[in-house]
């Protein structure tokens, strides 16, 4: 059984500066990489003889409207079924350039996951065979999961933090 430090060290030895922010919240190895390195990185992880990260669990995105230059974060969850460890890889994108290469040549399952992420966040996966909306209707002209719309009535005063000692 591989421990997270060994896995992290293997990845750092191969990619050096391109992988950053290593952390393991709740024992799940998490790190960030760049848009250019995501495909070589996952190809490396998939074909590595000992790591064998051969299962793509999930692709999703997060919107951080307040962090300038890192507005969008595409999150990949991977799983090595032979060694039983999980990885979380993050790629930060800026708001005016939401392009990222597609994962479909490596994993067939990435197709709908990327379509869903495109549908909800507007992330454009370059090279995707069929990048259309999947859950919402085609005519929709906005990306609903972006944090661009006020969800609560801003004039309400019964939920302000001071009332709850925060």
């Amino acid at each position: 059984m591989l421990i997270n430090e060994e896995v992290a060290q293997t990845i750092i030895n191969q990619f050096g500066e391109a992988v950053t922010d290593f952390d393991d919240p709740y024992n799940l190895l998490t790190f960030s990489t760049t848009r250019e390195q995501i495909i070589p990185l996952i190809t490396f992880l998939k074909s590595h003889p000992t790591l064998q990260v051969g299962f793509l669990t999930d692709i999703t995105a997060i919107h951080y409207p307040d962090s300038v230059g890192k507005e969008f974060c595409v999150v990949y969850h991977l799983h090595s079924l032979t060694n039983n460890f999980r990885l979380r890889i993050k790629v930060y994108l800026t708001a005016d350039d939401v392009h990222i290469p597609t994962m479909t040549p490596l994993f067939a399952s990435a197709n709908w996951m990327e379509r869903e992420t495109f549908d909800l966040f507007g992330i454009i996966f370059d090279g995707h065979p069929d990048l259309r909306r999947i859950l919402n209707m085609e005519e929709m002209d906005y990306y609903p999961m972006r944090k661009e719309y006020p969800l609560e009535d801003g004039t309400r005063e019964d939920k302000i933090d001071a009332l709850f000692g925060r």
Binding site: L28, G54, T57, H77, W112, M145
Partner: protein, 410 residues
């Protein structure tokens, strides 16, 4: 005058042409969105060459309810009701998966008794889920009898849900930090009765199907998928195990004391419809083994964690005790102190790995919540699996994949 009459009679004769020209003409067939055999609302546009399926394309999202968006403004305990409505054939598994995700974030260790009660409820849900899937598979191959036999048992499982939490379909069972109430003597009696009665019914069901010539002809070799393709398509759960990969979250990453129980993981070989059916049947036997062990070794003790800031206090305490009143108010208002962090927690759902990816910024609601819905991911493989087969095979493959529309669309 005479020549005109001749013309009329000649109209029905084939026109004089050269050799017959065959054109490659495909028929477009809409299977769904409201076809009874789709078991939910989703559409498959199939290109047919006669009876053979050439290609297919799915349209989903008919019951998309934006759960991930709704969850961004709800307190943690109110999100449980959203998870019910995803895989509504096995709601308790979704509920427990969500509670465990939040408990992981908050760092709550729940007592053994609560964990065992959760295991019991999750395995009952797995039984109910597999009963529906295999029963419907029988109906789709033309055998209604088996479905009727086992539906009585599903009804009994739902009665146990009702005894434990008061609801039958959308259960909203358990709480963050444990169960809302202990198993009542009636619930324990009903579970024990089920354990006595169910094996007979399941054996009868297997006798009807497993070696049935007609059934075998319909399902063996239909919709097979190799282990490699299945992994690439993100298959999990019984569908992946039918293809020969022994991946089960309960064993790989045990949660809620699954490591205490002894059970086997059935695997198939060819990943075809028959293997999926058999894997589900065998999993029901294994669920019964787990249930038997859990009910025999049910530990004594409280059914909730000692975490008053997260678990609702008993109602009579709220009227008498100042701290209990404060906690009650804060929890109901959703003002619990959640740490900043991100959690991924996976449970073995009825049809695969059900994952919750929760990002908390310390606020009253999740900053972002993503559901890894197993059937959303593996349903992509459907056109590949039914390529070159007939329409009747496509129906059988779809019902054997256990696609639940609520989970597909979230």
């Amino acid at each position: 005058m005479v020549s005109e009459e001749l013309d009329i009679t000649n109209k029905n004769l084939p026109a004089e042409q050269g050799p017959v020209q065959y054109v490659n003409e495909l028929t477009t067939l809409n299977l769904g969105p409201t076809h009874p055999a789709t078991h939910g609302i989703f559409q498959n546009v199939l290109q047919m060459d006669g009876e053979k399926i050439v290609s297919g394309e799915q349209t989903i999202g008919y019951i998309h309810r934006a759960f991930e968006k709704i969850a961004e403004r709800r307190p943690f305990y109110q999100i449980t009701t959203l998870t019910d409505r995803m895989n509504y054939c096995s709601s308790p598994i979704n509920n427990m998966g969500w509670h465990m995700t939040v408990e992981k974030l908050l760092g709550i260790e729940i007592p053994k008794r609560a964990q065992y009660i959760r295991v019991i409820m999750m395995e009952l849900a797995r039984l109910a889920d597999h009963l529906i899937c295999n029963g419907i598979l029988g109906v789709d191959t033309g055998a209604f009898t088996g479905f009727l036999y086992i539906y009585q048992e599903r009804e009994n499982i739902y009665e146990i849900y009702e005894e434990v939490c008061g609801a039958r379909l959308t259960t909203n069972m358990g709480r963050i930090g444990g169960m809302e109430r202990d198993l009542s003597p009636t619930a324990i009696r009903k579970i024990k009765e089920l354990l006595v009665r169910f094996p007979k019914v399941l054996r009868e069901f297997e006798n009807l199907f497993n070696r049935n010539r007609i059934f075998m002809d319909r399902v063996i070799g239909v919709g097979g998928i190799s282990a490699e393709r299945a992994l690439s398509y993100g298959f999990t759960g019984p569908n992946l195990r039918a293809a020969g990969v022994d991946y089960d979250v309960r064993v790989m990453n045990p949660y809620s004391s699954y490591e205490d129980f002894e059970f086997d993981i059935p695997v198939g070989q060819s990943g075809d419809t028959y293997d999926r059916f058999m894997v589900r049947n065998e999993e029901m036997w294994q669920s019964l083994r787990i249930l038997q062990q859990a009910i025999d070794n049910l530990p004594e003790g409280p059914h909730y964690a000692d975490a008053p800031q997260y678990y609702l206090p008993p109602k009579q305490e709220v009227y008498k005790n100042m701290e209990a009143l404060i906690y009650h108010f804060k929890i109901v208002m959703g003002e619990i102190d959640a740490p900043v962090g991100e959690v991924y927690h996976a449970v073995e759902g009825g049809n695969g790995e059900l994952g919750f990816y929760l990002i908390s910024d310390g606020g009253r609601a999740p900053y972002r919540l993503h559901f890894r819905r197993p059937c959303f991911i593996y349903y992509q493989a459907y056109p590949e699996m039914c390529k070159g087969l007939t329409l009747s095979d496509a129906i059988v493959i779809m019902s054997s994949m256990n696609v639940i529309a609520g989970e597909l669309d979230a």
